[in-house]
C-alpha cells in the first residue's frame, strides 16, 4: 500500500514538474508548481522528515507560491488568465538536458551509496531543534540575518520611487 502511495506521489511530482516547464500558460505553470511542491512534501514524509514536510508546505506553498502568483498578477494585465509565455531554444536545450539526465543516472547507478537502515524516529522536531540551537547555531543566526536583509532589500527594491 505504501509502495503505491509512494509511486503515486512521485508520479504527481514529476509530471506536474514537467507541466511547469513545458506548458505555455504562466498561471497554469504556477498551479502545476503547487502540485510539485505538495509532492515533494509527500516525499519528505516518506523520508521520515515530517517537520521539513510541514515547513515545505508552510513556506513554499503558503509563502513562495503565493508570492509568485502575486508577481504574475502584478506584472500582467489581470483581464486574461491565459498569460502565454513562449519558450526559446527548446530543441537544443532538450537535447542537452537529456544528456545531463543520462549522466546523472549513470552517476546514481554507479556510485556505491551508503545504504544504512535505521529505526524510524518518533518525531524529528526535537532533534532538528536541538541541532539548530546547538551545533548549527551560528548558521541559524546568520541565515536569519540574511533573511532580514533580503526582506529589507526586497521592500526597498519594489518601492514606487526608490
Amino acid at each position: 500500500m505504501a509502495d503505491y502511495t509512494f509511486w503515486l506521489i512521485a508520479a504527481i511530482t514529476v509530471i506536474s514538474a514537467a507541466f511547469v516547464v513545458l506548458n505555455n500558460q504562466l498561471v497554469y505553470s504556477a498551479v502545476a508548481l503547487l502540485f510539485t511542491l505538495f509532492g515533494v512534501a509527500g516525499l519528505y514524509v516518506f523520508l521520515w522528515a515530517d517537520f521539513i514536510a510541514g515547513v515545505q508546505l508552510l513556506v513554499y506553498v503558503g509563502g513562495i507560491l503565493v508570492l509568485i502568483i502575486f508577481g504574475i498578477m502584478l506584472t500582467n494585465r489581470i483581464s486574461s488568465v491565459r498569460i502565454s509565455h513562449k519558450s526559446v531554444q527548446q530543441g537544443v536545450g532538450g537535447a542537452v538536458i537529456i544528456w545531463l539526465f543520462i549522466f546523472l543516472s549513470i552517476v546514481i547507478l554507479k556510485t556505491p551509496w551508503l545504504n544504512q537502515t535505521a529505526m524510524e524516529p518518533a518525531s524529528s522536531v526535537a532533534q532538528v531543534g536541538k541541532l539548530l540551537l546547538m551545533k548549527y547555531l551560528l548558521p541559524f543566526e546568520v541565515i536569519s540575518v540574511l533573511l532580514l536583509g533580503a526582506l529589507i532589500g526586497a521592500a526597498t527594491l519594489s518601492r514606487e520611487d526608490p
Partner: protein, 101 residues
Amino acid sequence: MDQLNSYLFIAAILFSLGVFGVITRRNGIAVLMGVELILNAANINFIAFSRFGGMNFDGHVFGLLVIVLAAAEAAVALAIIINIYNNMNTINVDQASQLKQ
C-alpha cells in the same frame, strides 16, 4: 519506499526539468519557478541522504536552511522582476538587455 535510488532519480528528474525551465523560459517568473524546482531537487537529496545515511538529522538542518534561502531568493527576485516590469513594461529576460552592448 526504502530505496535510495528511487529518491535520487526523482531528484535528478526534477533537477533536469528545473534546468530546462531556466534555459528555455523567456518569462522571468517562469525562470524563477525553474530555480525553485532545482532547489527542491537538491533538498530531496539532502533529506534522502540523511534518511539512508543512518538517520542523522544534519541533513534536515541543511534542508531547512535551503528552504529559508529559497524564500529569501524568491522575495528578492520578484522585487527585481517587478522593478524591471515597471521600467521596461516587460518581464521577458531576453528583452531586458539594456546592459548589452
